[in-house]
């Protein structure tokens, strides 16, 4: 058990800190204008991303050939920790770099992946992930968007929904049904494609928070070349699962919300609505302690997993702990922080008090976070079945051709 940096880690931390001190302050976001997803400040976020990419801090653990540094996962954590000290625009490139590009690197021809890695890393090109549909969310394999063979390509028709960032995306990865007569999980295929293709129509959806960061995407006879297929025809499910594994490992507090427990503590140390400091009040202490223990528990659980990885282990289903615990904790933290302001905590305070505005934003966003990327309930199922070995949920959709399922 050793929490100190190794000599190399310490060197990397110093280097990262110096670099951040010189560069980060230039990208501080204007007060009150950010959204949790990061699209409101896209131009600023892009400039920051380019600066990081040029200094090879954009994806530290990627190979040097892909613009990374061939660093360890621990180096990524170190950079995150150092970066957390600065006010920076929220990161809208998480789906591009955390899901789509890793899937491309794993499944596409190397020269094809090569073409896309750099522009994505620099924030010049954005990717979105088109998995969910009106009748396929938790039950993702229920996708109905059809792809029909047409010479050396496919004609895609149907609808995707909840697609984060589709309105600003250049490229997308999509899961479609290529064989409705096959069993549900066997009739799927996976493609990458140009979001500007004829027949793709993106309609922003207004979210509970009022922003519109996700979209409906309609496909009317969109042509996708067969060369843009990832994995086998009918092998799309396997590719989708590999994407979702990337998603699970990506979760950490600073990445998925713009607030951390530090922000809650900072607010608790200032006078609350009654004049006294919340941190001096026993009832508030109980909440702060519980929130803090959860935040740190998630942070250190991630470090434990990284230790396993560094010893040659693989990320397992227990990675679901992070998002499950964190999304709820962010919701609790944000509500508690708003309460510290008393009745005034409900005043929409964008542009006024940046601390409160960030908490309100997180309070909305966390409600979506408990759904996005695997709902709380689905993650509990995953833990119960794949970690604790309990029986699977009853299934009626196995072994039946998709087009004979009643749903």
């Amino acid at each position: 058990m050793d929490f100190e940096d190794t000599a190399e880690e310490a060197r990397f931390r110093r280097e990262a800190r110096e670099w951040l001190q010189t560069h980060a302050p230039r990208y501080a976001p204007p007060a009150g204008e950010s959204d949790a997803e990061g699209f409101a400040l896209l131009p600023l976020a892009r400039r920051w991303q380019t600066a990081k990419a040029e200094a090879r801090y954009a994806r530290i653990s990627w190979p040097e050939a892909h613009g990374g540094r061939g660093g360890t996962a621990m180096d990524e954590v170190i950079f995150e920790e150092e970066q957390r000290r600065f006010a920076l625009p929220p990161d809208p490139f998480g789906i591009s770099l955390g899901m789509c590009i890793p899937t491309m690197m794993q499944w596409a021809e190397p020269q094809v992946a090569e073409r896309f890695v750099r522009p994505a890393l620099r924030g010049e090109e954005i990717w979105c992930q088109l998995f969910s549909e009106p009748s396929a969310g938790s039950d993702l394999a229920n996708v109905r968007t059809r792809a029909v063979r047409d010479g050396d390509g496919w004609i895609v028709s149907g609808q995707k929904v909840w697609t984060t960032g589709a309105h600003v995306s250049d490229w997308g990865t999509i899961l479609v049904r290529t064989d409705p007569a096959a069993e549900k999980y066997a009739g799927l295929s996976y493609f990458w494609f140009n979001m500007k293709s004829p027949g793709v129509e993106v309609r922003p959806i207004r979210q509970a928070s009022g922003h519109a960061a996700f979209n409906e995407v309609f496909f009317t006879e969109v042509r996708i070349p067969d060369a843009q297929r990832l994995g086998a025809v009918g092998g799309g499910w396997k590719v989708a699962i590999s994407t979702l594994m990337n998603e699970r490992m990506a979760v950490n507090e600073a990445d998925i919300a713009n607030i951390t427990i530090d922000d809650v503590v900072r607010m608790a140390r200032r006078p609350g609505w009654t004049g006294g400091r919340p941190i001096d009040d026993p009832a508030a202490c109980a909440q702060i302690a519980t929130l803090y223990a959860c935040s740190m528990g998630v942070r250190y659980t991630r470090y434990r997993m990284l230790t396993q990885l560094s010893r040659g282990g693989l990320p397992g289903p227990e990675a679901a702990i992070g998002k499950l615990a964190l999304a709820r904790n962010i919701q609790d933290m944000a509500a508690f922080a708003m309460e510290m302001r008393g009745p005034a905590g409900i005043i929409d305070d964008r542009g006024g008090d940046p601390d409160l505005a960030a908490m309100q934003e997180a309070w909305f966003y966390s409600a979506g976070l408990r759904i996005a990327g695997g709902t709380d309930e689905i993650l509990r199922n995953t833990i119960a079945e794949r970690v604790l070995g309990l029986p699977q949920e009853a299934r009626v959709d196995r072994g039946v051709p998709f087009n004979q399922l009643t749903s």
Binding site: D2, A284, T301
Partner: protein
């Protein structure tokens, strides 16, 4: 950074787990609740003392093994898993830790080798509410609860006005055994009437509590995991309405929640183990976090373990109530969790997050 037990620490834990499964089975704990089995518990202490358990983190210079605090944490986890009826908490986590960290060279030389051998057992009366009054080197204390208070040879006493070591073999010490909700961890009250003391100069009650809290968190962690394992074992077998209980989603989700709570508590405990072993300035915050997390996890796991067993879980014969008892005792014995909430918040306030 390396955030796991080493191979040696794993081996130690594994050995302890096997030994305790054999020598400290639930039947022994249940016997102790009924006032029997004390001799078996004492024999177990002799046996593990010979294996060096009390000596693990005591420095070699003072008759210990000097394996370090992470090894002691790994061992504490196994003691907690088995609910072993050993005086590790009062004698090692509290008394030995206090003397090793805050004692003079003479005090260490006098007491630590004997504690390390398991020859004598120490206890401790520590906390802001301890109302010990000192006049010169004489100490007076109203009757106060102490784990293994009847068996102990010495006590570390620490309150608002100082910390002391008291030899319990002298006149003026009055001990009265008390029944608690968990007789497998016996307690007594101890009172002093102007007894002779030696001051412990380099430590205060808060530091003694912080160090012990980390070690107790590992016991709580072991207990919480034992509850999860018990519950899993049961729901995999028990059938209702033609299917195993563990296939119901309400049950699966509850077990997933327990698993998550246990894992978060484990991670917080690991961080605290590091802070303890490195005597890092973060120890106060890390210890409070580990304590809050582990207390909540053990309590949840112990309660739900009874629940998931149904009626049988509420019987004397089932082992569930042993953890239900132990989880409550460990929650309260080092001052209740509410005081740790305050400690945690105070530590955050002191560290002054920007």
């Amino acid at each position: 950074m390396n955030f796991d037990y080493s191979e040696e620490e794993c081996a130690l834990a594994e050995q302890a787990r096997r030994l305790l499964a054999e020598r400290a089975p639930p039947s022994l704990i249940r016997a102790l609740l009924e006032g029997e089995g004390r001799d078996r518990a004492a024999a177990l202490w002799t046996e593990v003392s010979a294996l060096g358990w009390p000596a693990i983190a005591i420095p070699e210079a003072h008759g210990g093994l000097g394996f370090g605090h992470v090894a002691l944490c790994a061992l504490a986890e196994e003691v907690g898993r088995a609910m072993a009826p050993l005086p590790m908490l009062p004698s090692i986590y509290l008394a030995a830790e206090a003397i090793a960290t805050g004692g003079s060279e003479a005090q260490k030389a006098r007491w630590l080798p004997r504690i390390a051998l398991g020859e004598i057992v120490g206890t401790a009366i520590v906390g802001a509410s301890v109302s010990a009054t000192a006049t010169g080197n004489r100490l007076t204390l109203p009757a106060t609860l102490a784990p293994f208070g009847a068996e102990a040879s010495i006590a570390v006493v620490a309150g608002r006005d100082g910390a002391w070591i008291v030899d319990l073999g002298q006149a003026g010490v009055v001990r009265t055994a008390v029944r608690t909700i968990d007789q497998s961890l016996p307690c007594a009250t101890i009172a002093f009437d102007r007894v002779e003391t030696e001051p412990l100069q380099m430590i205060d009650a808060e530091r003694i509590l912080a160090r012990a809290a980390v070690l107790v968190a590992f016991e709580q962690l072991g207990g919480a995991d034992a509850c999860l394992d018990m519950a899993l074992g049961y729901v995999r077998e028990r059938r209702t309405f033609g299917r195993v209980v563990g296939s119901y989603q309400a049950v699966k989700h509850r077990l997933a929640d327990i698993y998550v709570a246990n894992q978060l508590a484990r991670s917080n405990a690991y961080y605290a183990a590091w802070a303890l072993s490195a005597d890092a300035p973060e120890l106060a915050l890390a210890a409070a976090t580990a304590r809050v997390s582990a207390t909540a996890a053990y309590e949840l796991a112990a309660r739900e373990n009874i629940q998931l067993h149904g009626g049988i879980g509420f019987t004397w014969e089932a082992d569930c109530h042993l953890h239900y008892r132990r989880s409550r005792v460990l929650a309260q014995i080092l001052e209740p969790v509410e005081t740790w909430h305050r400690r945690l918040a105070a530590a955050l306030d002191r560290e002054g997050v920007a």
